[in-house]
Structures are given as structure tokens and as C-alpha cells.
């Protein structure tokens, strides 16, 4: 059995008489992308802040890589975890480059390596280094500030990322781009990510597993597909959204999974650009509507024909 990277063991946190987090036990495996969802005030940020000891549990323990963090030096622990806070919190008197360099400088990296790292991260997050390096946070748009916040969290190459609504101030397009970037970073680096969002589509798109919080209690911890198909209760079902449930359901499965594998001879291939096999069914449906067809060819990762997706396949459950 693999040891979880982050483990909450019966964690409770009270503020006065208010119980913000109530007996939560939750394990995030190494390399897992875990998304916390729940209404405002349900304790998501508080749970996150207990991982880097910005908040201390009143009961229970938090383990990171097997170690009870109550016994670790907080500063050393925090330098091993990227932290993106809800309100960004860039240092206003430091340039973008200096902000991103915070943790590498704390870790005592040589100057040339810091500069290289900063430039690489700025490019990764679509911030032209030559244009943005020397600017101060107040000279950036809200979305650009958030991207600097994400770059700053990634800078020390920490094995764990704690991200509290990192994309909340972004327009849907940038948000989608960054979401894709983050998914790629996750795939490439195998970092363990604990991510808070209010956007259910974001959660479904990014998560290996979703943890649903309600008034400080963990009500369900499961894969996106399970959350959709077997919500623990009415609350989770509502959170996922009754109205667009069908479309969300389509979002967590791919064209490759539903396509009819028996590829017809090339002469009978339906016309049109084939869909990549990993395209979510929701986008495949959108493609069919946009192109006005009820069948589309699907290809695999190498570009070989992998079957045909029929409109009727989308409603088959």
C-alpha cells in the first residue's frame, strides 16, 4: 500500500464556538490531484491552511509523507509546499520577478539558477518575461497577478501544491488555458495537488478525486465520475447541479471510451476531421452540433482510426 502524501486524521478545527472543520479524515495519495469543493464557509480554506501549519487543528493530526507535521519546523515544511492563497497576496513592493523568486531565494539557490527558474515559470504561465519581469503587482491585471501567484507557488519546485481558488479572477478563456497548463504540469511533474474551487466544471476536469465539504464535514470523497453517478446525498447532487447534470456526466467521459470500436472500412468512414480519443464527450457533442452531423470518426493518440462515435452513443449510459 502506498503511503498517502497528505493525510488528515480525524481533524477538527474550531474558531470560538464555531466548528469550521469537523472530524475530517482524508488521504491524498502521492501524485494525486485532489479538489476540495463545498459552499462558502464550509471549511475548505481552513482545511488547506492546516496542511502548512498556518492553522493548527484542535483535534486529530495532519501527516505529510507519513510524518505528523505538528513535530516539524513550520518554515521548512512551508518551503516544501507551494501555496496559492485565495486573495493572491503578492508582495506589493517587489517586482514580479522578485515575487516569483521568493522561495528559491529562501532556499538559497544561486542567483543564475533563480533567474533561469523565474523566466521559465513566467513563460509557462504566459507572462512575457521581458515585459513583466520588472513590473510591480499594482501594474498587473487581476488575472496576471493570479498567474504570478501560481508561478510563485511553483518556484521552489515543491512536491506538494496547495491552491486556494487560484483562478477565480480570470476570464473563462484564460481560466481554461491555465487549467490545461496545470493539468499538464501535474501530469509531467507528478506533484501532489490539493486544490480548492467553487467551479464544479473545473473540479470535474482536474480532479483525480473530489472531496465534498459541507459545514466542515466531509460528505463524499470519490472520483468525478462517481460523484456524478453516485452522489452521496441530495446535497452533493445539488452541488453538482441538477440542471446540467447530463452535460456534466458527459464531461467526465471521453470520446474514445464511447466510440464503436469496429472501425468501418475507410470508404464508409463518416466525413470530417476525426476527434482525438481523449476529448470529453461533452465537447464531442458540441462538435456534432456545430458540424451538423450525428456521427464522427475518432482517432487514438497516434492518430490511427479508433472507431466511430454516434450521437446515440452519448445517451446510452
Amino acid at each position: 500500500m502506498t503511503r498517502p502524501m497528505i493525510a488528515f486524521e480525524g481533524v477538527t478545527k474550531r474558531f470560538g464556538s464555531w466548528t469550521a472543520v469537523d472530524g475530517v479524515s482524508l488521504a491524498v495519495e502521492e501524485g494525486e490531484f485532489c479538489v476540495l469543493v463545498g459552499p462558502s464557509g464550509s471549511g475548505k480554506s481552513t482545511l488547506l491552511r492546516m496542511v502548512n501549519r498556518l492553522a493548527a487543528p484542535d483535534a486529530g493530526a495532519v501527516r505529510v509523507a507519513g510524518e505528523d507535521i505538528a513535530g516539524l519546523a513550520p518554515e521548512a515544511l512551508r518551503r516544501r509546499m507551494g501555496y496559492v492563497i485565495q486573495s493572491v497576496g503578492l508582495f506589493p513592493h517587489w517586482t514580479v520577478a522578485r515575487n516569483i523568486a521568493t522561495v528559491p531565494v529562501l532556499l538559497g539557490w544561486p542567483r543564475a539558477r533563480v533567474r533561469e527558474r523565474v523566466d521559465a515559470l513566467m513563460r509557462l504561465l504566459n507572462l512575457d518575461p521581458d515585459r513583466f519581469r520588472g513590473l510591480y503587482p499594482h501594474q498587473l491585471s487581476g488575472g496576471q497577478q493570479q498567474r504570478v501567484g501560481v508561478a510563485r507557488a511553483l518556484a521552489g519546485d515543491p512536491p506538494v501544491l496547495l491552491m486556494d481558488e487560484p483562478f477565480s479572477a480570470l476570464d473563462p478563456i484564460t481560466r481554461g488555458t491555465l487549467r490545461t497548463e496545470l493539468a499538464q504540469i501535474h501530469r509531467k511533474t507528478g506533484k501532489t495537488i490539493l486544490f480548492v474551487t467553487h467551479d464544479m466544471d473545473e473540479a470535474l476536469a482536474l480532479a483525480d478525486r473530489i472531496a465534498v465539504l459541507e459545514q466542515g464535514r466531509l460528505v463524499q470523497h470519490a472520483t468525478p465520475r462517481e460523484i456524478l453517478t453516485r452522489p452521496a446525498d441530495g446535497f452533493v447532487r445539488d452541488l453538482v447541479g441538477r440542471e446540467e447534470w447530463g452535460l456534466k456526466r458527459l464531461a467526465v467521459e471521453t470520446a474514445g471510451e464511447r466510440a464503436r470500436p469496429d472501425a468501418p472500412p475507410p470508404s464508409e468512414q463518416p466525413p470530417g476531421e476525426p476527434l482525438p480519443g481523449d476529448m470529453p464527450l461533452r465537447r464531442a457533442l458540441s462538435e456534432m452540433i456545430a458540424r451538423g452531423v450525428d456521427r464522427l470518426p475518432v482517432m487514438d493518440a497516434e492518430g490511427r482510426p479508433a472507431g466511430v462515435l454516434h450521437l446515440a452513443d452519448l445517451v446510452r449510459s
Partner: protein, 253 residues
């Protein structure tokens, strides 16, 4: 003179701070040259030019008094402000703030008058009064400045793994610096004026010609002393202006 040199010199002369310093130096060393002017202004006076200690010497004492008291006040004020904004000092915050606010309702002259019976005449009561009075705006502004550091900035500083000392030195103090400096500026401005009054309790300052002039019905002395004090005040204020610009460069980037 080449065109470039000319513009460099001209640019320097157009700088208000440089001009003010120049005016002050001229007044300090060139005052005797104005004797004919004051003689013409007050033809009935036997001695239209103050000729006790030189103005430069008086200004040096004056500035030493202001400098020492302001430094001591800055050290005490900033430390007190720091202490009461830390978790361990928060208990005393109310007390310190109340003292600072109440203290400022006394006029500086009153503080001076109270100090004399305690330590006698001379520079000592002046130093004490000036220091005590200057502490108040500095404490107040230190608290306000540190309080003004946005909570998310502190949260992320902590979350990045900065130690408390680093957070204080590299985040809190730089962000609070402009506000703290404004407090220091107020304190020094008050002290430049109050130090002049301190001549009444026997401290040797630029107030001496003014006091002598008032006692001896010699308005020329009063004007001479006042001119120098005013020039000094302008220099100090412009100096702080410059410093404030330096400390908040990032805000105007």
C-alpha cells in the same frame, strides 16, 4: 561652459532641496553682509546685527539637539510600535495608543516647562522635552503603518516559509516605511520649532537671537533668528520629501 555642463548645473539649481540648502548656508555664513540692510530697516537701533555666537555655531547646536532627540524618539517610538503590534505585546497596545494621543494634546512648550523643574536649565530639559514629544507621532505612525500591511500579504509571506524576523524586515517594515517616515517628519518638524523655544530654558539654539531680540526690543535680531530657523525647517521638510519619494518608488513605477 559646454551646453551639457550648463544644463547639469542648471538642473541642480532647479532642485528645490539644493536651493534651500544653499539659502541656509548663505544665511548662516553671510548674515553679517546683510548688516547695511538691517541698519537701513531699523535706523534707530545701535546694533542692527546679532553678533553673539555665530549663526553657524547656533545652527550646529540647534541641529544637534533636534537630531539627538529625534533619533532617540525614533528608536523608542518604532520599537514601541513594533512591540505592541506583535502578538506578545498586543496587551499594551491600548495603553500606548492612549498615551500617544493624550500626549499630543499638550503643547510642546508645556512639556518644556514641566521638564525644567525636573532636571534644571540647559540642554538637558530641552533634550528630554523634545524626545518625549517626538515619540508620540512616531509611535502612532509606526502602529498605523504596520497595521496597514494587507493581511493576505502576511499570510503569503508566512505560507512561503519566511521566518518572523524576515517577514518583519523584508515585508512589514518596507511596506510601513512611508507611514513611519511621515511620523518622523512630523516629529522633526515640531522639534525644529520647539528647539528654538528651548532657548528660554537655557539651551543654545537658533532661538537665542529671537529671545534676546524680544527681551531687548530688537526686531532685527528676531528677524535674523527667524529667517535661519525657517530656512532650516524648509531644508528638513524638503529632505524628508526626498526620502519619502525614495522609500515609495515602487508605488509610482
Amino acid at each position: 561652459m559646454t551646453g551639457r555642463r550648463f544644463w547639469q548645473v542648471f538642473g541642480l539649481l532647479a532642485d528645490r532641496l539644493v536651493l534651500a540648502v544653499l539659502a541656509l548656508v548663505l544665511l548662516l555664513y553671510g548674515m553679517p553682509l546683510l548688516k547695511p540692510f538691517f541698519a537701513a530697516l531699523y535706523p534707530t537701533l545701535d546694533r542692527p546685527m546679532y553678533e553673539g555666537d555665530g549663526f553657524a555655531a547656533l545652527a550646529a547646536d540647534h541641529m544637534a539637539l533636534v537630531g539627538l532627540s529625534s533619533l532617540a524618539a525614533a528608536a523608542a517610538g518604532v520599537l514601541a510600535g513594533l512591540a505592541v503590534t506583535r502578538p506578545w505585546g498586543a496587551e499594551f497596545r491600548g495603553l500606548v495608543e492612549a498615551l500617544a494621543t493624550a500626549g499630543q494634546t499638550f503643547p510642546p512648550v508645556a512639556v518644556l516647562a514641566v521638564a525644567v523643574p525636573a532636571v534644571g536649565f540647559g540642554a538637558a530639559p530641552a533634550l528630554i522635552a523634545l524626545t518625549l514629544y517626538a515619540v508620540l507621532p512616531i509611535v502612532q505612525n509606526t502602529i498605523a503603518g504596520l497595521e496597514g500591511v494587507p493581511a493576505p500579504v502576511l499570510e503569503s509571506a508566512r505560507g512561503m516559509g519566511m521566518r518572523p524576523a524576515a517577514i518583519l524586515l523584508r515585508v512589514e517594515l518596507p511596506l510601513a516605511a512611508p507611514v513611519i517616515l511621515a511620523g518622523l517628519r512630523t516629529a522633526v518638524a515640531i522639534n525644529v520649532g520647539t528647539a528654538a523655544i528651548a532657548s528660554t530654558v537655557g539651551a543654545k539654539t537658533l532661538g537665542l537671537p529671537i529671545i534676546v531680540g524680544l527681551n531687548g526690543a530688537n526686531p532685527a535680531y528676531v528677524i535674523q533668528g527667524a529667517l535661519v530657523v525657517a530656512a532650516l525647517a524648509v531644508v528638513v521638510d524638503l529632505g524628508f520629501d526626498r526620502l519619502a519619494l525614495l522609500l515609495s518608488r515602487w508605488q509610482r513605477a
